[in-house]
C-alpha cells in the first residue's frame, strides 16, 4: 500500500491506515524537526503539532497529488512558526524573508560550528546545523526526503528557482565546511 492509499483510507476514518501512516511518517517528521532544532523533546512536540494539523486538514488533501510534499508543507510551516517564536521574529516573516535575512550570515557560522574532531556523523550534523535555517530545510527535504525542487517549492510556497538557488548555496557551504572529511573519504 502506498502512503497516498493509506492517507485516502485514513481520510475515510480507517484507524489501521492512520496507525500505519504514523509508523511511516512519524520518524521522518521527527527527523525533520531534529535536524532543524536538535532538541529531542521539542522535535516530539513539533511532530505531534504537525500530525494534529494534518489530521484537522485531512479533508483538504488532494488524492491525486503525492502525500509527502503536502505533509512536509505543513511541517515546514510548524517549523517556521517555532523558529519565529524562538528568535522573536515578526509573525508575517515567510520563507523568502527568512532567507533574505539570513543571507548576510556568510560562512562564519559554519566555521564556528565545525567540530575539532569526532566521528563522521557528528561532523556532518554540525555542518548541517550551521547552515542558515532557510537552507537547512531545503537540504533536509531534498536530500533526506527525496523531494524534487518543484515539490519543495510547493511545500514552502516559494518558487522552484529560489529553492534551487538556496539548495546550491547550502551544498556549497557543506562542501567547504566538510572539505577535510570529503578528502579523507575520497582517498578511502
Amino acid at each position: 500500500m502506498t502512503e497516498e492509499t493509506l492517507m485516502a483510507a485514513y481520510c475515510e476514518g480507517d484507524r489501521k491506515a492512520f496507525e500505519q501512516l504514523l509508523g511511516l511518517l512519524g520518524p521522518r517528521l521527527h527527523g525533520f524537526f531534529m535536524r532543524s532544532f536538535n532538541n529531542c523533546s521539542m522535535a516530539d512536540d513539533l511532530m505531534q503539532t504537525t500530525l494534529l494539523k494534518v489530521h484537522r486538514a485531512r479533508s483538504e488533501y488532494r488524492r491525486d497529488l503525492p502525500l509527502r510534499p503536502w505533509i512536509f508543507g505543513i511541517a515546514a510551516r510548524v517549523r517556521l512558526d517555532e523558529y519565529r517564536r524562538q528568535r522573536k521574529l515578526a509573525e508575517d516573516l515567510d520563507e523568502e524573508a527568512l532567507a533574505r535575512a539570513e543571507e548576510g550570515g556568510g560562512d562564519a557560522e559554519v566555521a564556528s560550528a565545525r567540530p575539532e574532531a569526532g566521528e563522521r556523523a557528528a561532523q556532518v550534523r554540525a555542518a548541517i546545523a550551521a547552515l542558515p535555517e532557510s537552507q537547512r530545510v531545503i537540504v533536509h527535504l531534498h536530500r533526506f526526503e527525496g523531494m524534487t525542487f518543484v515539490e519543495i517549492a510547493r511545500a514552502l510556497e516559494t518558487s522552484e528557482g529560489a529553492v534551487k538557488q538556496r539548495a546550491f548555496r547550502a551544498y556549497e557551504r557543506l562542501r567547504r565546511a566538510l572539505k577535510p572529511l570529503l578528502q579523507r573519504e575520497e582517498t578511502r
Binding site: 521527527h30 511532530m47 500530525l51 563522521r120 556523523a121 561532523q123 550534523r125 531534498h142
Partner: protein, 255 residues
Amino acid sequence: VTCAEIQAQAAGLASLPPTDAARIAARAHASSCAACTAALAEGETLMRVLDEALPLESLQPEALQRTAQEILSELDRGRPARTRVGAGGLGAIALALSASWLLPLAAGHKLGAGAGVWMSAALAALAAATTAASIALGGLALAAIPLLSLVASALGSTGGPVRLAAGLPCLLFELGLAFPAFAVATVLAFKRLMPEPRSALPAAAGGGALIGQAVLHLNCHALPSHGHLFIFHTGGVLLALALGAVICRSLRFGR
C-alpha cells in the same frame, strides 16, 4: 558551462538527478578538465556522505503513542457509534424503500392479479433486507442486489419480443425509484451516519431500483418476456448501482 561555474556549483550539480541536463553538461565538460572533475567528484562524495552519515534519530515509541492516542480519540469522536448507524441510517433507508414501493400503488397503479401482489411484496421485502445487509456489510455484499434482481427476472415465464418503447419507461421508472433511497443515504452520509458511504450509496441506489423492479411486477405490460426483464428490469438495477457509485465518487464526505 565554464570551469568557474562548475567549480562554484559542484556540490549543487552533484545533487541533481543523473539525467538532469545541467549535470550531464557539467560531466561532459569535466571529462576534459581535471579541476572540474575533482570538484564534481568532491560534490558526489558530499552526497554520499550526507546519505550515509545521518541515519534518522531514534524516535521514542512513547512520543509516537501519545500522538496516536490523541488523534485516534479525535477520529472516534468524529465517528458515530455503529449501533446508531444501524438504528438511524438503516431505518431511514428502509422507510424510503417502503415508501418507494407503496407510493406508486397509492397513486393509482393497477394491482393486477393477487399472486402478483404477493410476488411484488416478497421481492420488495427481500430488496429492503438485501439493501440493508449490503449497506451494513459493504464490499462484496453489494453483489447481492443485482443477484436478487437476476433471480426475479429469471422468474419471468416466456420468451417474447424486446421493444425499446416498452422497456425505456420501465428502466426510467426504476431509476426514478432509486433516487429517494440514494438521496436519503447521501444526506445520512453527510451527517456521518453511514459506516462506509462509498458502498452504502450505490447500495441504496441499487436497492431503490430493485424496489422499482418489485413494483413493475404489478404493472409492467411486457412482464412475460425474459429479454425485457433482463435488459430493462435488471439493467435498471445495474445502472442505478453504477450511477450511485459514480456520483458517490464525486462527493466529499467530511469526517
